[in-house]
Symmetry: C2
Subunit: 479 residues, 2 copies
């Protein structure tokens, strides 16, 4: 395809995307595609001869689109959002076209330097102590793909700090020589914490689940007790993962109480604020990060709730030396004359190659502006509060958890139903409304109770969509 | 930004990209930006108010572009290519706009099913035994971001298989209880192998470097000896990483000799063919993968040499159960009714969230067609062969390694120069031609000798660009 053809097809694709963004409401939110249905439309072998781009784009619309679940849809209330916006798409287009690999400063100086600036912008927006000022207690940042990967980096760094780099130093015997390193988190921590611990070799028996309070937030006193018990038993406390905004109910682990415990025992404190970090751009929600100055590492995802298309995860660390000593590889073919003067982000994460993700973030932060970002986030939170009010006002519905942010946990609960019936009926309710395609929501289970979850965070979600969600749910109950 | 504005700016961006693709030759290949130069142009704080997209796009062209090293440039000969193409950019645009998270089948059925199909297409194109046919010796595939991440997955799976899942089973004590697991690779293996071993907790003293032959390919007999010695000493041989197309010189580790050794001793065999895998689409180069049927895992990067924009790494495994038992997390909130019928790729890699990368691959494979892909790759290889002929024909130049694929290692070597002088002069030569901006090449060091490297793999690279590279280098010698 030459430049002229690219221009022609590119304009067609832009028109399609503009129509899509304008009319995404008209699609069913969740795809009703059945297993194997898309696969059956795709040939088993790559074509031998070139196919025209017009044909391919037509096939995309006809064969792929029906199998797409629309994460962009204003009535997408499932999981946590992976939201998106027009400036973000424009940024991603340019990143794709440039095809830059931001592994070293030299391989595209602007990619590294814009990334440093964007992390500083984000740090300031959420009130994180950021950037070199001579003190130790400030953060430095890097963009990663997802919070899962960032959390794995944190766990590996914690492992190394705790063993004085015994795993990775030259001549080190690896984890086999390190003893039983203990990791503490609440049962509400994201599955990526357990996955990261598996990959980093902690061993499942060394994942210690700390009690939670009635709001499902970590009990710092129980944390302290469990660390002390482990010390008494000759085990090696290594790392605490606190969650600000748990996946189930957006519970907020209290950093200002957990931090001093971790610090007193010399443990690494990693804070997973994947969704909730974005809420800290609001002065009235900044409290969720109270105590974050105790953390060694912190992650939140602009791709979740800051209108930047997936993937874009903001990872902050206090002391980059842990990352660099753990991750650094320095083969001859990657050395450049500038290495002492510049930051080479290849040592700040797992993959060597890195996309130019800072560009879309720059586009989003500038095109929205901080004020509009705050308005959008505050709007989502207000809608969640309003929705929870509707639930509470109805005798047959039950609010299942506090709503500090954008996510409402609830269920349909006529008094006549047993708990078992209640679980079955709510599961059936969810399946029916999702299959109908007007809204898409998912569930969690709280103390054995099947719980519906509405997470309000899509870029295009307005009050009318939340009103409609409540209507759809109530109508479906009467069917 | 509403849909109308997106349409307007989107068309502007398309026109800019089309111009860029057409005229990328006019840019200096390597950015001449100095450290801090881009950063100084970016404000220290995010703007409070929205800025117009036209302003932002103008700033991109004025402030960012001069700091970009042009990986798309037809005279980019550095590292290995991260190449790109027009259909790939169109695919990435649509992926960005859809913003789909392909973590579960349900979260976008078409994304998972197209990914399965594309991996089958790729497997067939490079001659890999692929897909279920009842036998054990066939591969299954998943798209990952980079070969670094895929190799880490392989090392973690090897660790688990070797210890009968002692690290990750319920109640397992982690690597601390596993003993000294040994990993074997050649000194020419990519730095991601050492990095992956660090992350997975093997310990640096357990990375065993196997001898290479005169072509820098792994010596399978030495591998056998080292494994046997380790067994005698009570150590636990775990994994062999063979490289097909090393980063330094594209040496080809002989899989047909390494495979039986690994199999006899029950070791996991991971094959890193990050660049070279693409060459296996040529019948005349298929021999580089002879013996791949012995591998447990195999990775190559369509984003390197198959015209698909970064990132897109194709990871193949024989038995997905190792991945699933190692990586699987199954929290309640991610369970769906379809889980028994479908593939959930979240368990096939490190991040939970996953982009819809199959779309760009589908666009590339169809728009090029297999025949044109083979022509492009064969063309690059022929140009490398021609370039190596020019080097060999000149008495003052020296070819430093065989050229089985697209990468030529060489140096300027007048007889009067000492080895030290030769190293300094070639470093200076590289720096001067890179600073001049007509070509961009990087180096490796072979037996202490500073060696220039020309890797020919950019989508737009034609014979004239390679001719020009040779002219630029010879002219620079006379300055």
């Amino acid at each position: 395809m030459d430049a002229a053809e690219f221009r022609r097809h590119g304009h067609d694709v832009i028109d399609w995307i503009a129509d899509y963004l304008e009319n995404s409401e008209q699609y069913p939110v969740m795809s009703s595609s059945r297993p194997g249905e898309t696969a059956a439309l795709i040939p088993d072998h790559a074509p031998e001869e070139s196919e025209d781009m017009s044909t391919i784009l037509a096939d995309f619309r006809r064969d792929i689109l029906p199998g797409v679940t629309h994460w962009n849809h204003p009535r997408f209330f499932a999981y946590f959002p992976a939201n998106n916006s027009a400036p973000s798409v424009l940024g991603e287009m340019l990143s794709a076209a440039l095809g830059v690999n931001a592994m070293l400063w030299q391989t595209s100086p602007a990619a590294t330097e814009l990334e440093e600036k964007m992390m500083a912008w984000l740090g300031e927006l959420i009130g994180l102590p950021y950037g070199a000022d001579g003190s130790q207690d400030r953060f430095h940042g890097v963009i990663q793909d997802t919070a899962s990967t960032a959390t794995l980096c944190a766990l590996v760094c914690a492992r190394e700090k705790c063993t004085a780099f015994a795993v990775n130093a030259v001549g080190a015997a690896g984890l086999a020589g390190a003893g039983a390193l203990r990791l503490y988190c609440s049962p509400e921590a994201h599955s990526s914490v357990v996955k990261g611990a598996k990959i980093a070799g902690f061993g499942s028996e060394n994942i210690v689940l700390v009690d939670v309070d009635e709001s499902r937030a970590m009990d710092a006193e129980d944390l302290d007790r469990r660390i002390t018990t482990d010390l008494t038993n000759g085990l090696i406390p290594c790392c605490v993962v606190a969650t600000v905004g748990t996946t189930g109910t957006t519970a907020i682990d209290p950093l200002e109480r957990i931090g001093p415990v971790a610090r007193r025992h010399g443990l690494w404190l990693h804070v997973d604020a994947a969704l909730a970090g974005s809420a800290a751009i609001l002065p009235e929600k900044r409290w969720i990060l109270n105590g974050v100055e105790h953390a060694d590492s912190f992650v939140f995802n602009p791709h979740k709730w800051l209108f930047t298309n997936f993937d874009c995860s903001a990872y902050f660390v206090k002391d980059p030396e842990h990352l660099e000593r753990t991750m650094a590889i320095n083969p001859d073919y990657l050395q450049t004359d500038r290495d002492r003067e510049v930051r080479n982000f290849r040592d700040w994460g797992i993959p060597l190659g890195r996309r130019f993700r800072a560009l879309k973030l720059w586009f989003v932060l500038r095109n929205f502006g901080a004020r509009r970002l705050r308005e959008k986030i505050a709007g989502h939170i207000a809608l969640a509060e309003e929705f929870s009010g509707w639930v509470e006002a109805e005798p047959d519905w039950e609010l299942m958890a506090p709503v500090p942010l954008n996510t409402v946990c609830f269920r349909h609960r006529p008094t006549a139903w047993s708990e078992t019936e209640c679980n079955e009926r709510n599961k059936d309710l969810m399946d029916r409304v999702n299959a109908a395609g007007r809204i898409y929501l998912t569930h969690t289970t709280l103390d054995g109770r099947f719980t519906l979850r509405v997470a309000i965070g899509q870029t295009q979600t307005e009050r009318e969509h939340v009103v409609e969600a409540w209507e759809v749910l109530r109508e479906a109950c009467n069917q």
